[in-house]
Amino acid sequence: ENHEEMLSSKSNRLTEALEEANKLFEKVCRAREAALDAQFLVLASNLGKEKANELHSEMTSFDSSAFAEDLLTLMGINRTEVEENDSEPGGFLPCDAWQKVGEEALKYFRRAPTFHYMLGSFKSDPPVAKQRIERQKKASRGEAKQIMPAQLKKMEESHEEATEKEVERILGILQTLFESDPDTPISFFDFVIDPNSFSRTVENMFHVSFLIRDGLAEIRLDDDKLPIIEPTKFRNVGEDNRGPGARKQVVMSLTQQEWK
């Protein structure tokens, strides 16, 4: 049971256990006890082999109890004076103990971030199997509410139509704004940010991206290198009209912190 203790180079427990077994064997008179003794010998010799292996590893062998102690320290344990028993040091772990370890751990992994599905426009009839997978994923993503826009439920019914309507609506707003004062540039951030809702802000950015894609609006940088948005002057939306600059794709990321 106390495997690690026995292996510790400072421990003579294995020797003591063997000596004790020897003494006990003298009293053995039944087969069952002899079998137990044999079982014990197997265990003991396995342990002996492991102990010998540890001696072979050059220089310093790994001390797991020291590692455990250091981990507890990293986790922010509050050590107490009173020790419960020999093998378990006293102390309380804070509730974010493992998060602290995890925070450090992430630096050592090339883990693909768990993808949170935000919004998508589908082809008019997505295959049934795929829908099922995505529904299941959405159901299990209760915590992702902060990223999922509030209107997602409605969206599931008719993605494309709803998106198109929203995009048109936003185009209308943009045009009205622009026409009311053509000389003042409209700050992109002023346009998309909803001061009361992070998810609405993200939604707005999403819809604006359609306008950009379709050439109905364009984003430029003003003298302060801040993005401004305006409806495009030309109404030709054909693919051929895209000049060299038009193929640019931009990724914008906005965290909730930044939004605040």
């Binding site: 250091d70 992994f109 090339r110 991206s209």
Partner: protein, 217 residues
């Protein structure tokens, strides 16, 4: 479509089988299967090169918004079963993804287990592992964080580990080693660095482990 499928399937961190890809997405395009898969892999990687994803992918007209852009690699992790995982192609320390608390806790436990296994010579018995975890207040079956991720049936955490029964043991015992996903997402050198950092020592302190870690580069 396949890219979308892969990204969604990867959420559970369970390897994605090629058979599933065929059944759910590729279907009638079976013959072009490998080409489609490698094309999907290229798209996932290209995101990293700054081409961005706010917009569209011809010809399906998919639009996705991702919390942050990153590069991903599609790696075949089991040539027999033809299953794949997604791995980040950004170097370790730079990748700074948003990560939820529960995920962090799991990664914390995982790195501790992987470290223990490696430092103890690449394989440990389950009894040994649990004895060690007891010191860290982690017990089998306990509900409190980070829970009991080690028991079969396989959970996302145990995909990182290879668990094999030890022959001739009664009651049955298991041997824990690194699994294929662990080998893909991290390395012995990285894990040694972690241990060194926790213990405030140089990685060279543990000579044989250090030799092993640097030899496999």
């Amino acid at each position: 479509e396949l890219v979308q499928f892969l990204l969604v399937k990867d959420q559970k961190k369970i390897p994605i089988k090629r058979a599933d890809m065929l059944k759910n997405v590729i279907r009638e395009y079976r013959d072009a299967c490998m080409e489609i898969i490698s094309q999907a892999g290229r798209i996932l990687q290209e995101v990293w090169r700054g081409r961005g994803l706010l917009g569209w992918w011809p010809p399906q007209g998919l639009t996705l918004l991702l919390p942050q852009t990153f590069g991903l690699q599609l790696v075949e992790i089991d040539p027999k079963l033809h299953s794949y995982i997604l791995v980040s192609s950004l170097p370790c320390a730079k990748a700074n993804h948003p990560c939820r608390a529960k995920e962090k806790e799991k990664m914390g436990l995982l790195i501790v287990i992987l470290s223990f296994i490696f430092m103890k010579g690449n394989a440990v018995k389950d009894s040994t592992l649990w004895e060690f975890l007891r010191w860290l207040r982690v017990y089998p079956g306990a509900g409190h964080p980070p829970g009991d991720p080690l028991k079969p049936p396989p959970t996302p955490l145990s995909r990182y580990l290879k668990i094999t029964p030890v022959p001739l043991m009664d009651p049955p015992q298991f041997s824990y080693q690194w699994g294929p996903r662990a080998a893909q997402e991290t390395s012995k050198e990285e894990i040694l660095n972690f241990v060194a950092k926790v213990q405030g020592k140089s990685p060279k302190f543990w000579t044989s482990q250090h030799n092993e870690a640097t030899a496999s580069q």
